[in-house]
């Protein structure tokens, strides 16, 4: 319990100090807000084009697709808030040798590296994503109005959203940890981020081959489509359990990889 309190207190200090540092550059908030709104408008425009001829997208209605897009926007905001600012520093720590300081702190190094900083500039994305989800669920003028989900569906969707956050985090962390061996592997996170853009649309909208890849290779389906299904009350229990299992496996995998990678860390020369 004492240890948990220490970790919690450390997290509060990490985040308050990094928010203070970020607020040294307040103009970033407006730039990020414009960027999120621009991206969102572009995605909605593409969706509108796809739905223009009245055809459902891979069996998904307009509102359902908006929920998937909303979840993607939330995940992208989370990436900007937590993943990008923290995990992009790992490469820097390795190159400059400041990882030494992290490894010598009496705190879990994966916890430190994953949470040391937070960027408030992803918040507009998270808020916009949730607003889009609510709007899609409650919009009265749509042909299908889903209304408020049942509390069970809401709970399941929340659990699956957490699972998708864990999967996303683990993918980023694994790539960052690989930079202990291959410094340039960090560029792969850009590839990852652009591949995960596929999560803007329901997985069933893609051709069968891509669907397989987005389910079993890059788990895009688990990131947005499956939580959206839960929110719409049409979730299959097998896929929900699979999503939770994938999250558990990814997190454990990232942990094991980090513990293994540390053995190969030789620290930068002075």
């Amino acid at each position: 319990m004492k240890e948990l309190r220490r970790y919690w207190h450390s997290l509060c200090c990490f985040w308050s100090s990094s928010i203070a540092a970020e607020l040294e550059y307040p103009l970033n908030a407006w730039v990020e807000l414009l960027s999120v709104l621009g991206n969102l408008a572009g995605s909605i425009f593409v969706l509108k084009l796809l739905f223009g001829n009245g055809v459902a997208l891979g069996g998904w209605s307009w509102n359902g697709s908006l929920i998937v897009l909303g979840l993607y926007t939330v995940l992208d905001g989370f990436t900007t808030c937590v993943l990008q600012p923290n995990l992009s520093r790992i490469v820097n720590h390795i190159q400059t040798g400041t990882l030494d300081y992290v490894l010598l702190k009496p705190i879990d190094s994966q916890f430190w590296l994953s949470t040391r900083t937070v960027s408030p500039w992803g918040l507009p994305g998270i808020i916009a994503g949730f607003c889009l989800i609510c709007w899609a669920l409650l919009k009265p003028s749509s042909s299908i109005s889903y209304g408020l989900p049942s509390s069970g569906a809401l709970l399941l969707a929340a659990a699956l959203l957490i699972a998708s956050l864990i999967i996303l985090y683990s993918l980023w962390f694994v790539l960052a940890a690989l930079s202990i061996w291959f410094i340039k592997v960090w560029n792969a996170t850009e590839v990852l981020r652009y591949t995960l853009v596929a999560g803007r649309y329901p997985v069933s909208a893609y051709p069968p081959a891509l669907r397989l890849i987005f389910t079993f290779v890059l788990p895009v389906a688990f990131l947005t489509t499956i939580p959206a299904e839960a929110l719409l009350g049409k979730s299959s229990s097998i896929w929900a359990i699979a999503a939770l299992c994938v999250a558990g496996i990814c997190l454990t995998g990232s942990r094991l990889l980090w513990n293994y990678a540390q053995r190969f860390y030789t620290s930068a020369s002075s």
């Binding site: 004492k2 509060c12 990490f14 400059t96 400041t98 030494d100 702190k105 860390y265 002075s270």
Partner: protein, 327 residues
């Protein structure tokens, strides 16, 4: 009981070798060649609680590798090592709370924030209650002569002030063992002196053990009664600086100003002539016979001025490294 105990400690790195040029690059891609480099070769030493020990050696001698093994950052290839009763490479929280590492060329504090914010983060990570942390910050800030500097963003501090705040951050958890890797690197003479004074004072007050590497001999001569001299991964000397000087320079330098000009032959039997220019002569005389020969010189010549000194330690160590590299 020793706080640091290293026995036949070695570290061997496996590195890949690549020939220069594009052909070498392709060959390297297709057929990698590796070779083993012994960075540290079976060194043994122990350090008692409260000691300040200087760790000397040229670049690439194995100092930093040894420090990294002592702090637990890298695994030794072989040998036994205990620091504060722990095997460092296991990096257990109880061990990490007892040590600290200060690197003159790297910083742990956040660049955009006042040092005080980073210190609060450190206090939280080490589980130091807020009031106690503030008390320790005040005490260390007073010793380091830091005041409102702690409230200014780090990027706006001078190099000397930044090093002092780094020291404060490194000592907040009251470690028993301090590993200091070039703590005065790049500092001006005044700042170097202040850092040295602080370290000496801290050692006196807390009884903390310190292992210090530095290329500035001033750091070593001021702070370290004992030095470990490492060269090409091997321990060359473990003892006091004066013992090292005796080991490296069995002769003393005697400089005389004479009232008359003399020939080389006149100094036969007194020692080796280092230089002879006009009234000035410099002789190298074995320490064991120093007083006897100086007395004879004073009897034989009319001496206006006399100075006996040991050759500068920097020159001696530099000479040692150069001579061993030639071997």
């Amino acid at each position: 009981m020793s706080i640091i105990n290293a026995k036949e400690l070695s570290k061997i790195y496996r590195v890949s070798e690549k020939q220069p040029g594009i052909a070498g690059t392709f060959r390297h891609l297709l057929q990698r060649k590796h070779r083993e480099i012994t960075a540290v070769n079976q060194i043994s030493f122990s350090i008692e609680p409260g000691e300040i020990v200087g760790f000397l050696g040229p670049n690439g001698a194995g100092k930093t590798t040894t420090l990294k093994m002592l702090t637990g950052l890298i695994h030794p290839s072989s040998g036994e090592l205990l620091v504060a009763g722990h095997k460092p490479w296991q990096r257990k929280a109880r061990f990490l709370r007892q040590i600290t590492l200060v690197m003159g060329n790297r910083q742990q504090l956040l660049w955009d924030l006042p040092a005080l914010d980073s210190l609060k983060v450190n206090a939280a990570v080490y589980g130091i209650p807020e009031k106690e942390a503030q008390r320790r910050i005040n005490e260390l800030a007073e010793m380091l002569e830091l005041g409102e500097e702690l409230l200014r963003p780090l990027r706006k501090l001078s190099l000397g002030q930044r090093m002092k705040t780094e020291l404060l951050a490194a000592l907040l958890h009251q470690p028993a063992v301090l590993f200091l890797d070039e703590p005065t690197l790049g500092l001006d003479v005044n700042a170097q002196v202040r850092v040295r004074e602080f370290l000496a004072d801290y050692n006196k007050r807390t009884g903390a053990t310190m292992l210090l590497t530095s290329h500035y001999m001033g750091d070593i001569t001021t702070l370290c009664p004992r030095v470990l001299l490492i060269h090409q991964g091997e321990l060359f000397h473990d003892g006091s600086l004066s013992e090292l000087t005796q080991k490296l320079a069995p002769c003393s330098q005697v400089r005389m100003e004479l009232s008359e000009i003399h020939n080389v032959e006149d100094f036969c039997g007194y020692g080796d002539i280092h230089s002879l220019e006009g009234h000035q002569v410099q002789l190298l005389i074995p320490r064991a016979e120093l007083s006897e020969r100086v007395a004879a010189l004073l009897n034989r010549f009319e001496v206006v001025d006399l100075e006996v000194s040991a050759p500068p330690i920097e020159e001696l160590i530099g000479g040692l490294f150069r001579s061993r590299e030639k071997l």
